[in-house]
């Protein structure tokens, strides 16, 4: 099988920001167990800035590594900036992914968007 880059292995073996956030005000979950990967993203957003982020992932090495990397990329960023994160950007930050694993990086992008959507829905709810 095509190997993982050192960065992927590093993020798999030492994932950053693993876990849950009790005071999260944005939670997004994507993927499904049937396909073998699920990512759940927890964020604490203050004044449109992601001040903290954690993740839980069920999946392969690439799924864990992309989850870890995407949390690093968005931590401290505004939600507007975070929404611009693409799967390509995540894969590049990991020095690339084997072609069969590219869908894992889609999942990371989608998880961020799902969490931010969740936050906006809640905000709209409060305004009403």
């Amino acid at each position: 099988m095509e190997g993982y880059s050192e960065k992927v292995m590093d993020h798999f073996f030492n994932p950053r920001n693993v876990g849950t956030l009790e005071d999260a005000n944005a939670v997004g979950e994507v993927g499904n167990a049937r396909c073998g990967d699920i990512m759940k993203m927890y964020m604490k957003i203050e004044d449109e800035v992601i001040v903290d982020v954690k993740f839980q992932t069920f999946g392969c090495g690439a799924a864990v590594a992309t989850s870890s990397m995407v949390t690093e990329l968005i931590k401290g960023k505004t939600i507007e900036e975070a929404m611009k994160i693409t799967n390509q950007r995540v894969a590049e930050a990991l020095d690339g992914l084997p072609p069969v694993k590219m869908h894992c990086s889609n999942l990371a992008e989608s998880a961020v968007k799902a969490a931010i959507d969740n936050y906006r829905e809640k905000q709209n709810g409060e305004k009403k």
Binding site: T57, F58, V64, K101
Partner: protein, 388 residues
């Protein structure tokens, strides 16, 4: 010193040094073409004949019924396509199972595209075909039955003897993919009424790239490769002499003392299964516990994914395999695990450990020490846990 524990002997095995010694002359000075008339050519021919006798002895077959190929996949392709196309006038129907190796499944699917009808028998929850289902699937136009001897993933041993009795009575050809069984289970093609049998040298400490197909005398089968007169005009191409010699030596060693060997493997297997069930909650064992290859362990750990387990095991020096989608290169987990009724999310968390006689109880103890924290680490990361 860093550990290196190889527990993937169903994927391939280490070449036995005695086998290598026997092969070496044919990779060096004895390079003659077995079809040539001068002495080094005749030496190659003699070496091939000797290997053919050894393979025949191991299966209780006649030497003229052994045909060398480049491995298990080729043998399966030849047996199934060769019999199907040669007997098309007799009938159009083939019976196999839904837990076969892809070498059989994809060959059958190819034949379906070419107008054959194929019945894929299901298996019971224990991973074994129900002989009654098999009897019901038989038709007047059934020309070939292909049922694997033992499954490569979950190790389950199929009712070969029962099937052989029925196919013999009905006059239907019976092929078995015995790639995982040869060297692990004693096989007598006459006692079991097997007409065609596939085997591969690298599964029993022989070299890669060489295998054989047993074809019972009188079986109507097409030639596989067209060209020279090698393998009695049925499989053309200059023989892989060193490989064939290696196959012969390896099968001789592997089929000697099978009972002693299998006793040791069963001990390691059962110790592993017992230890994993005791130490790791939410673990299930896949496949029948008795009718099973002596060295096969296949388990699923709920809430986690197989490739992640393999990467962490690799870091601890343990080589193993999994039936998760990520390790198969597709989006679906192993067809075998789905066939025994596992939901997708459970099948993704499978781990296969396959032992050889080179493994020891120390290896098992080491595994039982390092695996529980690996599973726990991945479960701590899993979003599935909190839902249960």
């Amino acid at each position: 010193m860093s550990k290196n524990i190889y527990l993937d002997n169903s994927a391939t095995t280490k070449l036995n040094p005695i086998v290598l010694d026997e092969m070496m002359p044919y990779l060096k000075d004895m390079y003659g073409n077995a079809s040539s008339i001068y002495s080094i050519g005749r030496e190659s021919r003699k070496a091939i004949d000797k290997a053919r006798d050894r393979v025949a002895n191991a299966l209780n077959a006649n030497s003229s019924e052994i045909f060398f190929t480049n491995g298990g996949t080729e043998s399966d392709n030849w047996a199934i396509k060769g019999v199907a196309f040669a007997n098309r006038k007799k009938g159009n129907h083939i019976i196999t199972t839904n837990i076969e190796h892809h070498a059989v499944l994809h060959t059958c699917q190819y034949l379906e595209k070419n107008g054959f009808e194929v019945t894929y028998l299901p298996v019971k929850e224990n991973g074994i075909v129900d002989v009654n289902d098999f009897k019901k699937a038989l038709r007047k136009d059934t020309i070939l039955v292909s049922v694997m001897f033992a499954n490569n993933e979950i190790g389950t041993v199929q009712p070969i003897k029962e099937i052989g009795e029925i196919t013999k009575e009905k006059g239907i050809y019976f092929h078995t993919d015995a790639v995982q069984a040869v060297g692990n289970i004693p096989i007598d093609v006459n006692e079991l009424n097997i007409d065609l049998l596939s085997l591969s040298a690298h599964k029993f400490n022989g070299p890669k790239g060489v295998g054989a197909l047993y074809i019972r005398r009188g079986v109507n089968i097409e030639a596989f490769l067209h060209g020279g007169a090698q393998e009695r005009n049925r499989r053309a191409g200059t023989e892989n002499v060193a490989g064939i010699v290696g196959l012969g030596k390896a099968i001789e060693i592997a089929t000697k003392d099978i009972e002693k060997k299998s006793k040791k493997l069963i001990e390691l297997r059962d110790m592993t299964i017992k230890g994993l069930l005791e130490k790791i909650p939410d673990t299930r064992v896949n496949g029948d516990l008795q009718k099973r290859l002596p060295g096969n362990v296949n388990v699923c750990f709920k809430y986690i994914e197989g490739e992640s387990i393999l990467l962490l095991l690799d870091m601890k020096g343990v080589c193993a395999s999994s039936g998760s989608a990520c390790t198969s290169g597709s989006l679906d987990p192993s067809h075998v695990l789905l066939a025994i009724g596992l939901p997708h999310e459970i099948a993704h968390g499978s781990l296969r450990l396959t032992f050889s006689t080179e493994n020891s109880k120390d290896d098992v103890e080491y595994l039982l020490d390092i695996l529980p924290p690996i599973v726990q680490r991945l479960r701590d990361m899993s979003p599935l846990i909190s839902k249960h």
